[in-house]
């Protein structure tokens, strides 16, 4: 054994975020220059995002949900606070990040020549975990 680490996913790559949202069953809009989000509060505060899932696809949501590109390159969630209570809060975002990280990891591993040996989904008291095991090509 040689090294162990814990990392926090930072969503930066549009491609994998779009793939993650599609896997969750949403139709996704991509706007390189940003587009307006329809919000419960839109008359008070207009917000834009680069990747958008419209309210019509989000059961029970008050507004659209988007991800906006920040100056440091990260894509951060923009949503109505009310939607946290409609099932689109931190748990929903965590699921998006989990799918994003899996897709990004598989693509990176393929590109750099690592071999996927096993994929497992594990149920824990803290929710579902995805475990990927890779080997180094000899």
């Amino acid at each position: 054994m040689s090294k162990y680490g814990v990392t926090i996913t930072e969503v930066r790559e549009e491609k994998f975020l779009v793939e993650a949202l599609k896997e969750m069953g949403y139709e996704v809009e991509v706007h390189s220059e940003g587009a307006q989000l329809n919000s419960y509060y839109s008359e008070q505060e207009r917000k834009t995002a680069n990747i958008i899932v419209r309210r019509a696809q989000l059961r029970g949501a008050c507004g659209d949900i988007g991800f906006a590109r920040q100056p440091d390159g990260r894509l951060t969630l923009i949503a109505d606070e009310l939607d946290e209570y409609a099932g689109y809060g931190s748990k929903w975002l965590g699921r998006v990040q989990q799918l994003y990280k899996e897709k990004q990891t598989l693509a990176m591993a393929r590109a750099k020549g690592y071999i996927l040996k096993k994929r497992e989904v594990i149920q824990t008291s803290e929710g579902q975990q995805v475990r990927l095991q890779f080997a180094v090509r000899r």
């Binding site: 930072e10 990040q97 824990t124 995805v130």
Partner: protein, 63 residues
Amino acid sequence: MQEKTITITIDEQGNSTLDLNGFAGSECNKAFEDFRGSDAVKLERKKTVYFTNQSKAHEQVRR
């Protein structure tokens, strides 16, 4: 020779744990960086074998 494996576990909060086995020295760091990607590191710990194998490599160079 022990097989070099990387196990990544991704939880529902968007955190990942990376467990590298069979590596030593700079190749270990390279694999870690490959799998870390652009993520922020919360914790990084080298295991005993990392240092043991590095010492062996140094000894061989000295001989």
